[in-house]
Symmetry: C2
Subunit: 126 residues, 2 copies
DNA sequence: CTCCCATCACTACATTTGTAGTTGCCACAT
DNA sequence: ATGTGGCAACTACAAATGTAGTGATGGGAG
């Protein structure tokens, strides 16, 4: 896989939209994001261009000659990279304090807690 | 509490040093960070100045007239803010997927797992 | 008394990010 | 043929960030 490019906050918004549904054209995306972001179409286009430069997106021409964008990297890879970097920056790279922090600062349902416990069991260092 | 200023990555390094031991002078900090960062003293000074502007640090004159820096915001508050923003950006604001992600991507000891389970129990939504 | 070093305040400058505006080009409706 | 509406390419520009350099200054070493 491509080494998960650095994706800024605004860019991340665009990526999410495309991870959710791809491919899409610039104007489709603009309309889709308009309610949440209020971005001008050119803003979206700039972000798209930058994401292509960074290798996070690919483009394809559709039949009618217009361009369409789609992810070039998997969401999971980017999440992992971002998470890694965040954990490094804020928790000195240690997973446990991070987990403790978020566990303490969240309200979870009993069901969620059950689920998480199960996952924890599977992450036992062997 | 002060509304937890936005702290950049390099700045975070400096903050950690001061949360760890404060107050410290610019040159003390420079020496302390040198091994890890290779920063010139002026770089550290710039970061310190910016952090003071942002309200993340305060200064005090020590007896010999030189200046000393110390945190003006608590680490926990900054961690919470950063964590909040990260969770928003990458997990759409939902704690559970975040916890799942980090639980799955970590190797934990049995002891750590026990501890985390206990904390999970306490975060039960009432 | 003088010169140098530590400190501090300013200035510098390239990149990245957020957020567009401007221009050029082409197919399609008149 | 022609104007217009879309789309793409390029340009703009301020704030934040990373990483220093330069100039002024005051107090000690000699």
């Amino acid at each position: 896989m491509t080494p998960a490019p650095d994706i800024s906050e605004s860019e991340w918004t665009v990526m999410e939209a495309l991870w959710d549904a791809a491919p899409q054209t610039a104007s489709e995306l603009t309309k889709l994001l308009r309610p949440t972001t209020k971005w001008a179409e050119n803003t979206v286009r700039t972000l798209l261009t930058r994401l292509v430069e960074k290798g996070a997106l690919k483009t394809a021409e559709n039949s009618s000659g217009t361009r369409t964008y789609l992810p070039a990297v998997k969401r999971e890879a980017c999440v992992r990279a971002e998470g890694e970097s965040f954990m490094q920056r804020v928790f000195g790279g240690a997973a446990k304090p991070l987990l403790v922090h978020f566990a303490q600062n969240s309200k979870l349902t009993a069901e969620e807690v059950r689920e998480l416990k199960k996952i924890l069991d599977q992450s036992l260092k062997s």
